[in-house]
């Protein structure tokens, strides 16, 4: 194939030449060209290398079926895309394409040596070897295989492009903009509903674009279509998947066909379309023929050559031979000849060719050889000629040529139909599967439904040849180097299902996903097995129809929009202070506030000291909050939580413990009764949504008789925790309407009033063991109150503290953090929270599970404290606790460290842990084995500081 530009014809704009580059050399094409047509027009034959044997490869097709002419497109730094089908790249000035899977160059590829040893590498060879010596697989064989495999190179830099995504809805979606699709869209438009027409190409028309006789009609239809206000036409758009209930995924190319310098906006756009009806008009793909030498560059599909000639004005070669098994090859040959392409001969495997095709060919000076088949193709990097013989076995004859066109019949594109679980029916006439019964509201029209007459043909597996299949290089999957003989070998080795044959040979698993190879593979397997095709089944069609860019599929969901960060109203302030943040659930929280280059250790010690000695302020706004309202509110909470709630007086708070129905702790928090029928619940920061959902579940589905309303108020309230001996002094000047005296406002009470002029629900609670308040104010007033508290606290040495200091302070008091000290397998008894379980309550969520035998069996892990023998040894959170550190592996473990900190209050380290029968071990020595040492520690009660609670009751 030495392609050249025909003097006239085609839909290209010959006045606009476009320069492009392939493997460092400059070429010219025209506006309207694809990269493939421009390369063909420039006489480029060798375009790539196959996957396994690195055999030379030339252009095969013209559209999304292309499996050979894959290139990397370089649009500048960090904009290199591998494995692009040149048939679907629209030419732009400066386009820079690079061939793949070769070294050092496309023509001189060292790895093509693989091809010499190809007999050693049949299907499944890797299962049979590379097993000795054992370690060589990872050290030698696999690294070599991995380097040889793969096609292009992955990008290695962050992609500067961005991607768009949207939803669309329509009454009728038409997939495919050929004649059948256009007709369907126009018909649908008549009914007035919204119509979307999607096509892969840059212009509508499909196969008609390669048939100038149809152009006038096509133009008229397109004009009509574009004048319909209810029709949206999306070109350069691929419908790649048909999902449940007429939900179609499609991606639109937005910039890749434009010069990088003028490209603006998103590179691709994901369309998620819900359609009332889907009309599939995807057309059909021509089938290659399987014969000895069919992969030499210059052997390609007849329909592709026709398209090159009539749509792009490119003659594929100077001497073209057509190898046909189907009338369509003759029609293509005649059309090309009429356009000025020299067709040297048409060889047809059939003895009798329908109609007057042979006569018409002879009239145009084309040699006709019916009942014959090509038996050999000469040439390695390009076709030099073919040998053919009657029935493939008669005396050989030779024709010099540079191009061979294959016309093996047609395969309807039933991909999307099959995604949608529509049934497929084998058609002997087509030699292909056609749409049967639909599951969704969809129908197929045109060629993909077998409704277009491409003429007649015979379905052949491998063209007849005197050579046995084993001795032929007759390819079925050109990219993956699957030959007919590989399929025979798979059958010989006992693989009978087409799924097995596909996996064993990799037929149909290349980047075209078998568009040109599946049916030939099936046919060959059928012959080898001696069973009809319809008995062997069909491999499942899976989305996507063509490979889809990750970027388009994730759309806007990256960086800040991947999972939006939740921030409290105090976050800006913390950021200004130079706080170091941590992620907790989807929230970002200030972990500590370093001053003057402090590390975390120093900052946390300082913050803890402030709280213990003076006063600290903490942003607790992320705590989950639920307002529980209604006459049955107390009854509802009584059933949900382990604690009793009915006796709680308005104005008082209670620590609540929540279990899953399986008896394990899921959440906790301090909640307040504001009135007989109103509670203000708090949950853990990460657990708010989970808890609300669980409560709604019970309320709506188990106890719909209860008159209770649940409302998430997490973001309604800013929560400022003020903790330390001077906490009361700090808020006293700011609070109105609340008697702050200890007698009037004891620990675990709630009052309503104002603070800094802002209405507040003021909790007197403590998660630090100090005198403390949690100031709930409307979120939009939170920053104002925060600032007022800081100002007022200035005189008292107030210091902000972060989550790390909060963790230390609560650990000194043995207060648990659900999710850190518990892990989804701990019960209230395990955690020493028996006091929070209402003994007299007949039932609560999880109660029955606690009575299961294992839930109170000896040996359960229990929550305790640990003090290391050396006071400054800090245990590692997650470290395991053992009784005998000298035991051989596996060493019996009795539990693990859940929390460990430097304690200011104790002047040493402390740790919390859960260990088997922990409470019975208080006072005992246990061991914490580290990789290089063993730390000794004494088991203690989990409360290290102020066990009698005098400070928080101050």
């Amino acid at each position: 194939m030495t392609g050249y530009r025909l003097p006239a014809g085609g839909r290209i704009d010959r006045h606009r030449t476009i320069n492009f580059r392939f493997d460092g050399r400059d070429y010219q094409g025209f506006a309207g060209d694809t990269l493939a047509s421009a390369m063909a027009g420039a006489g480029i034959v060798l375009v790539g290398r196959s996957f396994k044997y690195h055999r030379p490869r030339g252009l095969l097709g013209i559209g999304s079926e292309e499996c050979n002419a894959l290139v990397s497109i370089n649009r500048g730094a960090a904009r290199v895309t591998p494995n692009v089908r040149s048939t679907q790249v629209w030419l732009y000035p400066g386009l820079n394409a690079i061939s793949q899977n070769r070294w050092p160059s496309l023509r001189w590829d060292v790895v093509a040596l693989n091809d010499v040893f190809a007999p050693l590498f049949p299907a499944g060879f890797y299962n049979k070897t590379f097993m000795w010596p054992r370690s060589a697989w990872e050290k030698l064989y696999e690294p070599v295989i991995r380097r040889l495999a793969g096609l292009g190179e992955s990008p290695v830099e962050r992609d500067p492009d961005h991607y768009d995504a949207t939803y669309a809805h329509c009454e009728v979606l038409v997939v495919g903009g050929g004649r059948a699709g256009i007709d369907a869209a126009l018909a649908a438009a008549q009914s007035g509903g919204r119509v979307i027409l999607i096509d892969e190409g840059d212009e509508l028309g499909g196969g008609a674009l390669a048939d100038p006789a149809q152009w006038p009609v096509l133009m008229a239809l397109k004009q009509e279509l574009y004048s319909c206000s209810n029709v949206m036409v999306l070109t350069r758009t691929t419908a790649f998947g048909f999902y449940h209930q007429n939900f179609i995924g499609a991606t639109q190319q937005l910039t890749d066909y434009l010069e990088p310098a003028v490209s603006q906006g998103a590179r691709e756009k994901l369309w998620r379309i819900r359609a009332g009806e889907v009309v599939l008009a995807q057309g059909a793909i021509e089938r290659p023929l399987v014969f000895n030498g069919n992969d030499v560059p210059g052997v390609m599909l007849a329909s592709a050559a026709r398209s090159l000639a009539l749509r792009f004005g490119v003659a594929v070669g100077r001497q073209v031979v057509v190898m046909a098994a189907h009338d369509s090859g003759w029609h293509d040959a005649l059309a090309m000849a009429a356009a000025g392409v020299t067709i040297a001969a048409i060889i047809d495997v059939r003895h009798v060719v329908s109609g007057d095709l042979a006569e018409a060919a002879r009239a145009m000076g084309i040699a006709v050889h019916t009942g014959a088949a090509i038996t050999r193709v000469a040439g390695r990097h390009a076709v030099k000629g073919v040998t053919f013989a009657s029935d493939g076995t008669g005396p050989s004859r030779r024709i010099a040529c540079d191009t061979v066109l294959m016309a093996g019949g047609w395969t309807p594109s039933v991909h999307l139909w099959s995604h949608a679980k529509g049934s497929l029916v084998w058609s002997d006439a087509w030699g292909a599967y056609l749409p049967g019964t639909a599951l969704e509201n969809t129908r197929a029209v045109g060629a993909c439904a077998g409704e277009w007459d491409f003429g007649a043909g015979v379905v052949t597996a491998v063209l007849p040849n005197a050579l046995p299949v084993r001795s032929q290089t007759a390819f079925v999957d050109f990219q993956n180097d699957v030959k007919a003989r590989d399929i025979h070998l798979a059958v010989q080795e006992g693989f009978r299902s087409i799924e097995h044959i596909k996996r064993y040979t990799t037929n149909g698993m290349a980047t075209d996903q078998g568009k040109t190879s599946n049916l030939n593979g099936l046919q060959i397997a059928s012959e080898a097995l001696g069973r009809p095709v319809s008995d062997i089944g069909l491999t499942t069609f899976r989305p996507p129809y063509t490979p889809q860019t990750f970027g388009a599929l994730l759309g806007h969901h990256k960086g800040a929009l991947f999972q939006p960060v939740r921030k409290s109203v105090i976050d800006d302030w913390a950021n200004l202070q130079g706080a170091v943040f941590e992620n907790v659930g989807n929230w970002r929280r200030a972990r500590y506030f370093p001053q003057g280059g402090e590390d975390m250790h120093s900052a946390v010690l300082r913050e803890c000291t402030a709280v213990r000695e003076r006063v600290g302020v903490f942003d607790a706004s992320t705590l989950g909050k639920i307002e529980v309202v209604g006459p049955d509110a107390a009854e509802f909470l009584n059933r949900m939580y382990t604690n009793p709630w009915k006796g709680l007086a308005p104005g008082r708070c209670r620590y609540g413990l929540l279990l899953r129905e399986d008896g394990f702790i899921i959440d906790d928090g301090v909640s307040a009764r504001l009135a007989d029928d109103r509670f203000h619940l708090t949950t853990t920061t990460g657990g708010a949504a989970r808890v609300l959902n669980m409560m709604e579940d019970y309320l709506q589905t188990e106890w719909p008789d209860l008159d209770v309303w649940l409302t998430s108020t997490t973001e309604q309230w800013a929560v400022i925790a003020l903790q330390g001996p001077r906490a009361r002094d700090v808020i006293a000047p700011l609070v109105e309407g609340i008697d702050l005296s200890p007698a009037a406002f004891p620990h675990m009470a709630v009052r309503e009033g104002t603070i800094a002029g802002v209405p507040t629900r003021l909790f007197r609670v403590s998660f630090t063991g100090e005198l403390g308040f949690e100031i709930n104010v409307p979120a939009d007033q939170g920053r104002k109150v925060w600032d007022a508290v800081l100002r007022s606290g200035g005189a008292h040495g107030i210091s902000p503290y972060g989550t790390e200091a909060m963790h230390v302070l609560r650990a000194e008091k043995g207060f648990i953090i659900v999710g850190q000290d518990t892990d989804g397998t701990m019960t209230p008894y395990d955690m020493g929270l028996d006091w929070a379980v209402g003994k007299k309550k007949p039932d609560f969520v999880g109660k029955r599970s606690l009575a299961r035998p294992d839930m109170s069996a000896p040996g359960r892990k229990q929550f305790i404290g640990l003090l290391t023998e050396r006071p400054q040894d800090l245990l590692e959170e997650g470290a395991q606790v053992v009784l005998d550190p000298t035991a051989p592996v596996p060493v019996p473990m009795i539990g693990h460290v859940t929390s460990a900190y430097h304690s200011v209050a104790l002047g040493r380290t402390i740790a919390l842990a859960v260990i088997a029968d922990g409470r019975a071990r208080i006072g005992e020595m246990v061991f914490i084995p580290m990789p290089d040492t063993v730390i000794r520690a004494t088991v203690t009660a989990p409360v290290f500081h102020d066990p009698e609670g005098s400070r928080l009751n101050a």
Binding site: P82, L120, G824
Partner: protein
């Protein structure tokens, strides 16, 4: 069985590979077997193999409603690791990893077990605490698992983005170097070939329609599309279909079956040297020897046997992958597929005797069954042969759902399987 070797491959190359026999000749079912395994996935075929090779029972049939290896065995993302938290799980999965090592040689079938390392990323303080707990527990259990700093993570997996200002910054990772991947189809095929060579019958395209039990309740055999086949011991290893098979024996099971999707990219030259998992971001990824990025997605939320997942799951999965590996946004997704995973309440498997005498079950592996293949197969064979579980699988019994002795790795650590 003709031995596989480089030498034989060379010899066959000169003969057009005409001498390779069938991997597993078709067999008509016999009237009765000592043991029937229902389900010809990797676990079931492996159980048959070990029954024949380790436990002296070769009068075994594996009955499969479709094609062998056609279920989850051929649909997974091939990750192998054993760095589980609890002793029970660590022992179970490490039993498998020890068998993976040398499996190619044992089966004389290259299953391409590649110890390229599994790196699990920690993105927040909670992850760090949890992974450290795993690492300490694993060390004391003799299971390799080590902590890597962010820089070490980046050195181990260069495509990783370790920017401190990332939405989910990498704070470190837990690396199991013995973890890795294997070639999934080869595992099923290798066990099938090995089992058949030792007298096991594999009966494909033969759905089980009933389980026949005697007056004492013990199993007598299975009713199938091809008639009754007798056996006094039946092992069920039917993954997503286990609930259905168990109903045939009158047992209701604590299982639900969910769709799970996975996808691969187009093949590219080597870029990704290991396996990376991130539970916080919900992503796991490796690169196959063929060059495809192999990416696991999450399960859909509802029970389904449709093998047809939703697009938004794919969107989320790729967003997660590109959040950690931003260089991949220009890569393209080549193929997606769906499987059916059977999930227990504690997301740990059930590998045990059942209340029906002679009926044994291996199920509930959820999204993590592939890595356990040799171990599960061996333990199922052991349990069947001895009519009693091995110490390793004894905790994975049915009683735990009654007595509360759950093995809940996910609850304990929020770590995906």
């Amino acid at each position: 069985m003709k031995r596989f070797s480089g030498l034989n491959l060379l010899a066959q190359a000169f003969d057009g590979h005409r001498g390779w026999p069938e991997h597993w000749p078709d067999k008509a079912p016999k009237a009765a077997y000592d043991v029937i395994i229902i389900g010809a996935g990797g676990h079931g075929l492996g159980a048959a193999y070990y029954l024949a090779t380790k436990y002296g029972i070769s009068n075994v049939a594996v009955i499969e409603k479709g094609w062998l290896g056609g279920g989850n065995a051929g649909r997974n993302t091939t990750i192998i690791r054993s760095n589980y938290l609890y002793d029970e799980s660590a022992h179970l999965y490490d039993h498998a990893v020890k068998l993976w090592d040398g499996l190619s040689q044992e089966l004389n079938y290259n299953v391409m077990y590649s110890k390229r390392g599994v790196l699990m990323l920690a993105h927040n303080v909670h992850d760090v605490q949890s992974f450290k707990r795993h690492i300490h527990a694993n060390r004391l259990n003799g299971v390799d698992n080590e902590w890597l700093t962010p820089d070490q993570c980046k050195a181990y997996c260069p495509p990783l983005d370790i920017a401190a200002n990332a939405r989910h910054p990498v704070l470190g990772g837990a690396l199991q170097r013995r973890g890795g991947t294997a070639r999934h189809d080869s595992v099923a095929w290798g066990y099938a070939r090995g089992a058949v060579a030792r007298g096991v019958d594999i009966i494909q395209n033969c759905a089980v329609t009933g389980i026949r039990r005697g007056p004492d309740g013990a199993v007598l055999g299975v009713e199938t599309e091809r008639g009754f086949i007798g056996a006094t011991k039946i092992g069920v290893s039917a993954a997503g279909s286990t609930s259905l098979v168990m109903k045939m024996a009158g047992l209701d099971f604590p299982l639900e079956s969910y769709p799970l999707q996975a996808l691969v990219s187009e093949p590219v030259k080597p870029i990704f040297p290991c396996v990376v998992m991130s539970n916080t971001v919900h992503a796991y990824i490796s690169q196959s020897d063929k060059g495809e990025l192999v990416i696991g997605a999450g399960t859909d939320q509802y029970v389904s046997y449709s093998q047809r997942g939703a697009l938004h799951i794919i969107e989320h999965t790729l967003a997660a992958i590109c959040e950690i590996f931003p260089i991949f946004t220009r890569m393209r997704m080549l193929r997606t597929w769906g499987g059916i995973v059977d999930v227990t309440p504690d997301r740990s498997p059930i590998l045990a005797k059942t209340p029906v005498p002679g009926l044994y079950v291996n199920c509930g592996w959820g999204t993590g069954g592939f890595k356990a293949t040799p171990g599960a197969a061996d333990l199922l064979a052991h349990t069947i042969a001895h009519d009693a579980p091995h110490a390793i699988n004894a905790p994975f019994n049915l009683d735990r759902f009654r007595n509360g002795r759950l093995i809940d790795e996910a609850a304990a650590a929020a770590v995906a399987h």
